[in-house]
Symmetry: C2
Subunit: 413 residues, 2 copies
C-alpha cells in the first residue's frame, strides 16, 4: 500500500466538480458532485439517529436496492433534516435533474446534505447548481480537492486521502494498480454511530457489492465510529464507497489475499479521514488519541477508549494542559464495562519518555514538567492498560475549547 495524491478523483474514471450555488453560504462553494463514467457497486453506512435527514433516507433506498450508482450530489449549508415530505421531494427533484444532465438513471444518483437542521433547501438553487456541476466535472485531482472544500461547514481544513495497492489482473497477466481515494467533512455533531458525518470514497477496484459492504461495515467500527467531537450523533451521517472496476483487477468475489489487501487500504483511508475529522473538531486545538490495551473483549475496549475522548472533563483538561489524570480513570469507570480499578495503568505517551499517571488504580506522583511538555503538543495520546485480556482499541477526539462554545452558541445565524 502506498500513499498517493488526491481524493475522490484519484481512481480511474471518477470526476468531480464544485460550485457556489448560494444555498445558504455567501462567497464560497457549497455544492459538489462525484461522477463515475462507469456504473459503480456501492456500499454505505448511515446514521442510527431515529431522526434521519431526507438524503439519508434517499441514499439508504438506493444502496439497499442493489442497483449500481454513478453520481453523488452534495450540498453544504442546510442539512435537509426535519423537513418532512418537502425535504424528500427535494431529493427526488435533485436526482431527476442530475440524471437528466448526466444522462443517467435518476436512481443512480446519491445525495448528501450537511448544515443547519430544520430549514428547507431552495430547490431552484440546487437545480442551477446541478446544471453547473454537470458542465464543470473533471477527472483532475484538483477537481476532487475543490469538491472536498465545497462540502465543508465549520471545518477549518478540507479532508482528503488516497492510497494505491497492487491486485491480480483480470486477464491473469500479473498485477494492476488499484487506487482508493476519499474525502470527508466534520466537524461538529460528530459522534458517529454506524458511520460518520459525510464521507465519500471512490475506487477503481472491481469488487462484489456484498464484499464491499462487508468491508465497509467492519471498517467503520474501528475508524469513523471511534471518533467523537461532541457526543452528538448527527441526523445526516453517511459514508458511501463506490467501486467502478476500471482498474482492471480480477473482481474480488471472495475473501482472501486480494480482499485483505483491499480491506487494509480501505481501512487506512477511513482511519486517515477519521483522524482528520477528530483533529479538526469544532474549536479544537489538539488531536487526542485514547488507546485501551489488554481488555477482555474488543467491544469493551472500544467503549472504554471512546469514553475517555468523549469526557468533557478530560477534553477541557487537555485544552488547559492540566494533568488532572484522575479524570481519565473516572471516564473509564463510568463507561459501562466491568473491570478491576486496582489493575489499571494510565500513561501519557511521550516520544522518548512517558508519564505514568496511575498504576494499579492509584495516582502516583509524576514529572509535572514533562507532563506539561507532552500536553502542550498538537497531539496528545493517553494509554489505559486494563491488564485484563488481549483486546485493544483506539479512539480519536479533540480538546474542548472556548471556540467550541463560541461556534455552537451562534451557529445558525
Amino acid at each position: 500500500m502506498i500513499k498517493t495524491a488526491g481524493s475522490v478523483t484519484a481512481a480511474k474514471g471518477f470526476y468531480a466538480a464544485s460550485c457556489a450555488a448560494g444555498i445558504k453560504y455567501k462567497n464560497r462553494t457549497d455544492m459538489a458532485m462525484i461522477y463515475s463514467d462507469e456504473p459503480c457497486e456501492v456500499a454505505g453506512t448511515f446514521t442510527t439517529n431515529m431522526v434521519k435527514a431526507a438524503p439519508v433516507l434517499w441514499d439508504r433506498e438506493v444502496v439497499y436496492s442493489g442497483k449500481k450508482v454513478q453520481a453523488v450530489i452534495v450540498n453544504s449549508g442546510i442539512a435537509n433534516a426535519a423537513t418532512g415530505k418537502e425535504g424528500l421531494d427535494i431529493c427526488r427533484q435533485t436526482a431527476d435533474i442530475a440524471g437528466a444532465e448526466l444522462g443517467i438513471d435518476p436512481d443512480a444518483v446519491l445525495i448528501g446534505s450537511t448544515g443547519v437542521i430544520g430549514m428547507q433547501i431552495p430547490i431552484d438553487r440546487i437545480k442551477d447548481g446541478v446544471v453547473q456541476l454537470a458542465k464543470k466535472k473533471a477527472a483532475t485531482l484538483e477537481a476532487g480537492t475543490e469538491a472536498s472544500k465545497a462540502i465543508m461547514t465549520t471545518d477549518t481544513v478540507n479532508k482528503e486521502t488516497a492510497y494505491q495497492i497492487e491486485l491480480p489482473a483480470a486477464d491473469g497477466d500479473g498485477s494492476v494498480t488499484v487506487t482508493i481515494g476519499g474525502m470527508s467533512k466534520g466537524s461538529g455533531m460528530i459522534h458517529p454511530n454506524m458511520c460518520t458525518m459525510l464521507g465519500y470514497i471512490t475506487t477503481d477496484a472491481a469488487i462484489d457489492k456484498s464484499l464491499l459492504q462487508k468491508a465497509t461495515s467492519e471498517i467503520v467500527k474501528d475508524t469513523f465510529n471511534m471518533i467523537s467531537v461532541d457526543g452528538d450523533t448527527s441526523t445526516n451521517d453517511t459514508l458511501l464507497v463506490m467501486a467502478n472496476g476500471k482498474a482492471g483487477n480480477a473482481c474480488i468475489a471472495e475473501e482472501g489475499a486480494a480482499y485483505n489487501t483491499f480491506f487494509a487500504a480501505l481501512k487506512q483511508i477511513c482511519e486517515d479521514l477519521a483522524i482528520k475529522m477528530a483533529s479538526d473538531g469544532e474549536g479544537a486545538t489538539k488531536l487526542v488519541t485514547s488507546k485501551v490495551l489488554h481488555m477482555d473483549t474488543k467491544e469493551n475496549a472500544r467503549i472504554l477508549a471512546r469514553s475517555v475522548i468523549h469526557s468533557s472533563l478530560v477534553k477541557a483538561m487537555i485544552f488547559g494542559k492540566d494533568a488532572n489524570c484522575g479524570r481519565v480513570l473516572c471516564a473509564l469507570g463510568y463507561a459501562g464495562p466491568e473491570f478491576d480499578p486496582n489493575t489499571v495503568t494510565v500513561t501519557l505517551k511521550g516520544e522518548e519518555k512517558d508519564v505514568i499517571f496511575c498504576e494499579n488504580g492509584v495516582v502516583l506522583p509524576f514529572d509535572e514538567e514533562l507532563a506539561l511538555e507532552l500536553l502542550s503538543k498538537d497531539a496528545v495520546t493517553l494509554v489505559s492498560d486494563m491488564h485484563m485480556g488481549e483486546e485493544e482499541a483506539t479512539a480519536w477526539g479533540c480538546d474542548l475549547t472556548y471556540d467550541y462554545v463560541k461556534i455552537n452558541g451562534d451557529y445558525r445565524t
Copy 2:
C-alpha cells in the same frame, strides 16, 4: 407539606459544624460534620462508576451493614479517589477519631470527600479538623448552612432545603410535625447514576430502614439521576438520608398514607437540591429543563429527557440564545428509544405564549423575537411531546459556557 427554613439541622436532634482544616483550599471552610444525638436509620445510594472513591466504599459497607449511624464527616478539596489502600485507611482513621471525639462507635460514622481525584488527604489535618468539628457542633440552622458551604468545590452557591409534614403521632394522639432537610454540592463531574455527587438529608421521622431505602432509591431516579452538567459520572457520588425518629411520629413500617406523605416530602427535597445543582453547574448561566411528554415507557421518557440536557450542542445553543431547534430533535433521535420522528412536537415554553419549534417532526417558521426573549431568561424549558403514550419525565441541566471550559481547563492548580 410546607417549606421551612434551614437544611440538615432543621430536623430535631441534628447538629452540624464546619471548620477550615486546610486540606487543600486556603482561607475557607473545607470540613463539615452532621451529628444526631440519637442513632439514625440510614439509606444511601452511591456512584455506579467502576472506580469508587474510598469514602464511597466505606459508606456502602456501613449502610449495607444495617447498623444505625450517628455522624457524617465530609471534606472538600480532595476526593480521596484513586488512592488505593492508603485512601481506605484514611477513612478508617477518620471514623476512629470521630468516634472517640463524639463518644460513639466508629462504625456509626459515615464519610464523604469531594475534590481532586488522585491526591492523598493529609490525615493530620483531618484529625485536627474532626476535633474542632466535635467541639463546635450546634443544632442551629446557621450551623447547617455553614456546613453546606464547607462542602462546596466549584459551586457558586450553597444548596439547602427543608420541608415539614404532619404525620400520625406515635402515642395515637393526633399528629406531630416531621421535618426533613438536606444539603448537597455540585457542580462539575455531574451526571449522577444512582445518586448525585454529595447529598445529605436528615429527618426526625421514625421510619423503617427498608422503607427509607426504598423511598430513597425510587426518588433518585426522578431527581438526582435526572440532572447532568457535563455527562461525567463521578467516582464519589453519594446520597445519604438519616432518620433519627425524634419527631415522635408513629414509626412508618409499611406503605400507606404516612409513607406517601413522607415520600412526597423527601422527593421534593431531592428535586429542590437536584435543580439547585443543575442551575449551579460549572460555568452555567441558565437552568435548562427538558420535559418529555406522552412517551411509551417511563424509562424511555427519562432517557429522552436526559439526552436533550446532555447534548453539548443544545447546551451551547442555549448559552448563545440561538434557537437552533433541530438540535433538540437530533438529541432525541440518538438517545436510543425508538419513536416515529414524524409525530414529535418540540416547544420552547413561555409564561404566556410558547414557541412551537417543530410539529410532526418538521421544523416550522417561528417567532424569532419571542424565541430570543425566552432564551434570554435565567430558566429555559424545552418540551418534547412524542405522542406515543402516557409516560412523562423531566430532566434538568445547564448551558455550556466559556466558563465551563475555563474552570475545567485549570481545576487542579
